[in-house]
Symmetry: C2
Subunit: 139 residues, 2 copies
Amino acid sequence: MEQRQELRNAGLKITLPRLKILEILEGNQQRHKSAEDIYKELLNANEDIGLATVYRVLTQFESAGLVTRHNFEGGHSVFEIDDGKHHDHMVCVDSGEVVEFVSDEIERLQAEVAAQHGYELLDHSLVLYVKKIAGANSD
Amino acid sequence: MEQRQELRNAGLKITLPRLKILEILEGNQQRHKSAEDIYKELLNANEDIGLATVYRVLTQFESAGLVTRHNFEGGHSVFEIDDGKHHDHMVCVDSGEVVEFVSDEIERLQAEVAAQHGYELLDHSLVLYVKKIAGANSD
DNA sequence: ATGCCTGCAAAGCTTTTGCAGATGC
DNA sequence: GCATCTGCAAAAGCTTTGCAGGCAT
C-alpha cells in the first residue's frame, strides 16, 4: 500500500480510481498498457470507472512523472510506470511482444550526433521493430 | 516531368491529384509534411482536391514505396519522399525544425542489440528531441 | 463544508470509408 | 466503354472536455 504515498508525493488526492489504476500499472503482467487495456482490466475487476477518467488519470500521472507515455505506431498511446530507469523498446512485429533494453553506447552516440549538428540532446525515442530468430533463445 | 514514370512504376494511373501531390512532396521546401500541410498547399495552388484524396493517395504512395510515413509525437503523421537513403531524425523542440542524420555506428549497434535478445532487426524509428546550443553553428 | 475528482455524454481531431459521378486509358 | 479514381460527407477510432453530482480532507 505504498501507492498512497506516491500519489501524495505527486500532489494528487488519494482516490479509488487513482489507486486502482496505479495498481494496475504496477502489476507485473504487461508493463505497457493502453488506456483501453487499463479500462478493460478495471471492468474485469468490477470497478466502475469510466474510460474518460482513465485518460484523465493517466495524463495526471504523466505530468507527475509517475508514468511515461509512448506513441508506438498505430495511433494509440501506451503507458508504462516510470521507475526512473531509462530504456528503449524493441517490438516484435509478429507477437507484439515488447522488450526493453538499454545501450549506453547508443545513448552516447546520440548525444554525440546531436552535438555534431550544434544541438543539445534533450530526449529521444527509439523503437526497434524486430522478429524472433527461429531457434534462438529470447535472451 | 519524370513523375509520370514514377507513378507508372508504382502501378498507379496518372491522375492530376497524384501528380500534384507527388510534385508537392518533391518540392524542396519542407521535406516532412502532414496530410493537412499538403492539402493546404493544394488549396493555395487552387487545386480542387479533397483531403480524403490526399490521405488515399499518400497511403497508396506509401504502399508503393514512394513515401515514408513517420509518427512523430503529437498524433498526426508526416510523410516524406522515399529516396531510398535511410536516415533518422532530429527535431528541435524550440523551432520544430527537422534535421536528418545517419549514424552507421548507431545502426550497427541496433542490429547488435536486437541479435543479443534473439531478434532480427527489421526496421527502427529513432527521433532525437533536441535544442539548439546557443552560439553553435548548426552543422 | 469546500474544492478537487468522477462519470457520463458529447465534442474534437486525425484518418478512413461509402457512394455517385468523373476521368484516364 | 470500363475500371479506376475522386469529391463530398458521413463514420470511425482515440482522446479530451463540459457539466452536475460525489468524495476526500
